[in-house]
Amino acid sequence: MRRLLPLVPLALFLGLAGWFAAALLSGRDPRELPSALIDKPAPEFDLPSLAEGRRLSSEALRGQVVVVNFFASWCAPCRVEHPLLLRLARQEKVRVIGIAYKDRPEDSRRFLAELGDPYLATGIDRDGRTGIDFGLYGVPETYVIDKAGHIRRRIVGPVTPAMLDRELLPLLRALERS
């Protein structure tokens, strides 16, 4: 046993190196996050709302173009994109729905009180179930859902100003007209 102990670091390292090799040779690009859900119906959800005593369900959103934004108070990039969400909601009059991912409701409330609340309604996804249904990679993550309730666009990571102007707004306007 004592003689085998010095072999442990080597064995662990070789395992790790093998894993690295597999990850490298699989040819996957970690930044490319295809959603299996594009043009498919958005997952159903029915969550308690940040507003006491109310609920937020996918049923209630049917027939409208909505932007669903997963966020959390502990997430730094969420703070970066937040002014853009405010602009989307207040200046562009887009219906933005928030889902607080794995966050304590009081923290989410404080976050929104601090930075401003762009959301028409905010669901509490305390255990991350809804996040799993959407195939969430991390927060922030943003989905565009059309009137028929289909996911049309997925944005992983913070929305950037360029993305907002060049992609998101044209798409939203087109969906709104159809």
Partner: protein, 661 residues
């Protein structure tokens, strides 16, 4: 012309590195003194060649030679000179060249300053350094050549990523690389010791200064990077547990363990095989970090351009260097059982605890960093964020920090815990006082943060108590205390400073729970109230820069009705890249930072201004600097320069004066 010369010099450096990795090794095995001394010449020559090569690339950047594809892609004629130079290492190829420059500098330094090393050891260390250098030179020449030409040369370059055009970032990579690459020296010493099959107190005494240099540089490098993130990214955070940040933290954690465990080898001739393993792992983690950043297996805001060939190559280097050295370790380590026995409550015991906790923390951060990669193999995309680290890393650090004040008060071999704690009662009282006052002032909110402040007080007061103990403060006349204080070894002051720095940093981190934040859309004349300050937006105006145009907000800062300052946060639009960056305005002070960032907006709707008041946030970086300073003071200890001429056969170094360390 210079460019071709640089390319040629790099090829020559590879040639010299290959000689350096073979000839001295054979010489050491066969005791051929001529062969062994080849290592010294080759190491110095290799450094000279890499320096020529680096100078050639820098020259191309300074003169904006856009016929070089690396310059074309990363520079622009309208860029300020500082960023033309820092642009050399603001990209993958150039930063690899800087990495190799520092690597060969370390090799040359061992060659020049290693005159007091036994010849065989020096020859073997230089050979291992040569192997590492050869691997990386081959990597840069084969996959990342910075000297590729573009013909015909375009009129102007693409410019450097605006976020990187910043003085903090200009100096961050050189320090970080010195930290990473400096750990290759401890690695080379460890491999040489494994080849010789001998580790003793003298060996530890040679290794420790090198490990310390690397640790200091890494500390400064990480602090600079964190400070840069704080003042440029414009959202007030300073650490994000991003994979690339973790990649620099990992070797820092294991390097911290190394500089402590090497003390035990030096003083008590035990924990040898563990110390060797730490030296191997510290450099190994630096290499893993390089691999993660440059191969594209993990996604990160810092990641360099991805090329699978590079990933495969670095992985190959990784397997050769770490796999090879760990194989050697598996073969030789069982023969290296240590000498000195010690009780669990003793200086050695405290250092073992330090090492256990630091090693576990390293493992935790490594797991958090690699977990997304593991899950990816099962088709799951996840990210690991601050909640994971808050729950795992902090509980590991807390006992370490508590024990940090006690450890230095314990004697070697067998310590007296009760006596040590008795000497710390003032520190304990102070910590309790800080917690109670803090709880009272905050109205029993943010309890964890206040406990953190109490911990900081405990550490700082513990350091002073330990110093007071050494100089017998208030127990002998002050004059005698003064004489004792002057006679203490520099290494003792180094330790005190470094530990005190940790206390300062812990205070700065804990206080972040008390920051205040306001975000509002302001028109000219509107105001924000924050933490007793009144901020009035006077105007937002257009300001031209050398390679950007900026919107600059002029914000008056009032306190008690009087204007005390004017702050000017900017948003810069870089015309070449069509990219905007925020330039924050920060009033830094020892007691608090006032931090302003300008968001989007216009004269009618108003401009979004984010204001933070962050109590003692600057202590985080100040603490890191004090820690690094402690390392530097320790390096000036005369012990490193004298007294190790002869190598004793293995045995406890008990003859040394007990006051040192």
């Amino acid at each position: 012309m210079f460019i071709e010369l640089g390319h040629f010099a790099l090829a020559l450096a590879l040639f010299l590195a290959l000689i350096q990795s073979v000839v001295p090794l054979v010489g050491a095995a066969r005791r051929l003194s001529g062969w062994m001394s080849v290592g010294r010449t080759a190491a110095i020559g290799q450094f000279a060649m890499v320096a020529v090569s680096f100078a050639a690339l820098t020259h191309a950047y300074v003169t904006s030679d856009f016929s070089v594809s690396n310059v074309l892609e990363n520079s622009h004629s309208a860029k300020p000179m500082l960023y033309k130079i820092s642009g050399v290492w603001g990209n993958h190829e150039g930063s690899m060249l800087l990495w190799i420059l520092i690597l060969s500098l370390c090799g040359a330094a061992v060659a020049v300053f290693g005159d007091n090393l036994p010849r065989e050891l020096r020859a073997r260390v230089l050979a291992v350094q040569g192997m590492v250098a050869a691997g990386f030179l081959l990597f840069i020449l084969a996959t990342s050549n910075p000297f590729t030409r573009v013909i015909p040369a375009p009129a102007d370059g693409h410019g450097l990523n605006p976020v990187l055009q910043d003085p903090g970032l200009a100096f961050h990579p050189p320090f970080l690389y010195l930290g990473y690459v400096g750990s290759s020296v401890a690695f080379a010493f460890a491999v040489a010791a494994l080849i010789e099959g001998r580790v003793d107190a003298a060996w530890a005494r040679w290794v420790r200064p090198w490990a310390l240099v690397s640790w200091c540089a890494l500390t400064v490098g990480i602090a600079l990077g964190s400070w840069w993130a704080y003042y440029t990214l414009g959202w007030g955070g300073w650490w994000f547990w991003d994979p690339v940040e973790n990649a620099s933290l990992l070797p820092w954690l294991s390097g911290t363990a190394l500089i402590h465990s090497a003390i035990v080898v030096e003083r008590r001739d035990t924990m040898k095989s563990w110390t060797i393993l730490l030296a191997l792992l510290t450099f190994g983690l630096a290499l893993v970090g390089t691999f993660l950043v440059r191969s594209g297996v993990l996604s990160s805001v810092h990641a360099f351009a991805v090329d699978p060939a590079r990933g495969v190559f670095i992985l190959g280097l990784l397997v050769l260097a770490i796999g090879g050295s760990l194989t050697l370790y598996a073969l030789r380590a069982p023969a290296m059982q240590g000498g000195g026995l010690f009780a669990p409550i003793s200086r050695e015991g405290a250092l073992v605890l330090n090492n256990l906790l630091l090693a576990t923390a390293t493992g935790t951060v490594l797991l958090g960093t690699l977990y997304p990669l593991f899950m990816d193999a099962f088709g799951l995309k996840i990210s690991v964020g601050p909640p994971f680290y808050n729950r795992t890393f902090l509980p590991l650090m807390t006992p370490l920090l508590i024990a940090m004040a006690i450890g230095p008060l314990l004697a070697w071999k067998r310590g007296d815990m009760v006596a040590a704690l008795q000497r710390l009662w003032v520190a304990f009282g102070l910590a309790v006082l800080v917690v109670l006052v803090g709880l009272w002032l905050s109205g029993f909110r943010a309890v964890l943060a206040i406990l953190g402040l109490g911990l900081a007080a405990w550490i700082a007061a513990g350091v002073l108590a330990e110093w007071g103990e050494r100089v017998r403060l208030f127990r002998v006349p002050l004059r005698d205390s003064w004489r004792r204080a002057a006679g203490l070894p520099r290494a003792a002051y180094g330790m005190s400073l470094a530990h005190f720095g940790i206390g300062v940093m812990v205070a700065g981190i804990s206080a972040s729970a008390f920051e205040q934040e306001r975000i509002e859309a302001l028109r000219a004349g509107d105001r924000i109230e924050i933490a007793g300050y009144t901020l009035i937006l006077r105007e937002v105006r257009r300001v031209p820069g050398p390679n950007y145009i900026a919107d600059e907000a002029v914000v008056e800062v009032l306190r008690g009705g009087a204007v005390i300052d004017t702050m000017r946060p900017q948003r810069r639009l870089f015309t070449v890249q069509r990219q905007t960056t925020a330039v924050t305005a920060i009033r830094t002070g020892l007691s608090a930072d006032l931090y302003l960032a300008l968001g989007e907006g216009d004269a009618e709707a108003g401009w979004v201004i984010r204001a933070w008041h962050k109590p003692i946030v600057s202590w985080i970086w100040l603490g890191a600097l004090v820690m690094a300073l402690g390392g530097v003071v320790s390096l000036t200890d005369r012990r490193w320069r004298v007294g190790v001429a002869a190598r004793k056969p293995a045995g406890p170094a008990g003859a040394q004066p007990a006051a040192a360390e």
